[in-house]
């Protein structure tokens, strides 16, 4: 399988990428590690006429502490997220989940920004960023803006990114010592999750308005057209519900579809089971 023809532009700065995006608009796609885009192009599901390769922008590959948050450059590879000492100490769930993406070869090429910008509901990292209450930093012609993860995923493979914008950074709160769990059910080791969930239970500064009670974020994988939060579960826990009762409503706001791997009802069942396991693991 070979992609349809395209013009290839390799850029050496963010500004150059933005200028090409403005010039080519919807006809152009950004190429980072290529592990979401190239498979689509090989199947001819995506046929951009211009491919803008941002893969050499090493200034967008970093993990650094910034106040209460960790800032991760969009071009940081899954491998580097997985092995980041800063993330392992401050946001362990993200380092762990990055190590669950695909396989070692995929993690050597795929980037966190590429995965997030692709917006696939079946991918692992969006659910983690949602559970953490992270945000995305976006550069466009008019400068920079920051979009909360909860507003970033807008439809199936659709995000808040405009055609002339570039995702430059992912920000997540530091949650050292937080309880967490990442659950993923697959048929084969390297498959996409049939259903997955990310759970983070933390007592961050935000919980001061919450009488010191821990705040729980739950993100769901492959439970609808977008990566999404299990809002009903989060609210039930905030109101003092038990883990079992909160997990029982994990699929309430989800709209999973049936496919070759699972029926809708099986996915709903899995979400309830995996969220319960996740909450139990994160609470230990």
């Amino acid at each position: 399988m070979i992609p349809a023809k395209f013009d290839y532009e390799r850029v050496s700065s963010v500004d150059e990428a933005l200028s090409l995006l403005r010039q080519h608009g919807d006809d152009a796609k950004l190429l980072a590690g290529g592990h979401s885009l190239l498979p689509l192009m090989k199947l001819r599901f995506a046929t951009p006429s211009v491919l803008i390769d941002v893969g050499r922008l090493s200034e967008l590959s970093y993990v650094r502490e910034d106040g209460d948050e960790i800032a991760i450059g969009a071009l940081t590879r899954h491998h580097d997220v997985q092995h980041s000492d800063v993330l392992r100490a401050q946001v362990e769930i993200l380092a762990h989940a990055a190590g669950q993406v695909g396989d070692q070869q995929v993690r050597h090429r795929g980037t966190i920004g590429g995965s997030i910008a692709h917006g696939d509901p079946a991918s692992d990292l969006p659910a983690v960023i949602l559970a953490l209450g992270g945000s995305m930093v976006i550069r466009g012609g008019d400068g920079e803006r920051t979009v909360p993860a909860s507003e970033f995923f807008t439809g199936f493979l659709e995000t808040a990114l405009a055609p002339d914008e570039l995702l430059t950074e992912i920000r997540v709160p530091k949650v050292p010592g937080a309880g967490w769990s990442f659950q993923k059910l697959t048929k084969r080791a390297q498959d996409w999750a049939i259903v997955g969930c990310a759970v983070v239970r933390s007592s961050t500064s935000a919980s001061e308005s919450n009488d010191g009670r821990s705040v729980t974020g739950v993100g769901l994988v492959n439970m609808g057209p977008t990566p999404l939060r299990a809002t009903a579960t989060e609210q039930a826990l905030a109101a003092g519900a038990s883990v079992a009762d909160a997990a029982a409503v994990a699929d309430q706001d989800a709209s999973p579809t049936a496919d070759i791997n699972a029926s809708e009802e099986y996915r709903r069942h899995l979400a309830r089971v995996l969220v319960r396991r996740g909450l139990e693991e994160a609470t230990r």
Binding site: I2, G34, D103, H108
Partner: protein, 154 residues
Amino acid sequence: MQVTITVNGQSRTTDVEPRTLLVHHLRDDLGLTGTNVGCDTSSCGACTVHLNGEAVKSCTMLAVQADGQDVLTIEGLAPSADELHPMQQAFREHHGLQCGFCTPGMVMAAVSLLKEIPNPTEREVREGIEGNLCRCTGYHNIVKAILAAAGSSA
């Protein structure tokens, strides 16, 4: 578009169409057919080569993305024509192959794995080669071979 890639230690400059996948460039333009195309969907790992010393799937990468980079294929792994790399030797000794189709990719993935985890447990080996499918062996002798190679290179 002209690309210059260091392949198995040798600088190779070629004209490629931007849509040329690295695996096709290696096989069809450079004649290095040791790297196989299996699933062509980033699943099976038969096309695994090293990019700057790390295992990648060459069916999910454009040749132009490798411009200026260092690529190692199975042909470049052995130290000389009459001496196998320790990983190849271990696969031979432990019968870590049957039909041999997955073997080049499996060996390249295993070498990359041991660079990151020099003394892996059996579980780390099994998880480390999750991106490489073998339909013959049931993996058992492959895992044995990798563990043996880890012991010998320690």
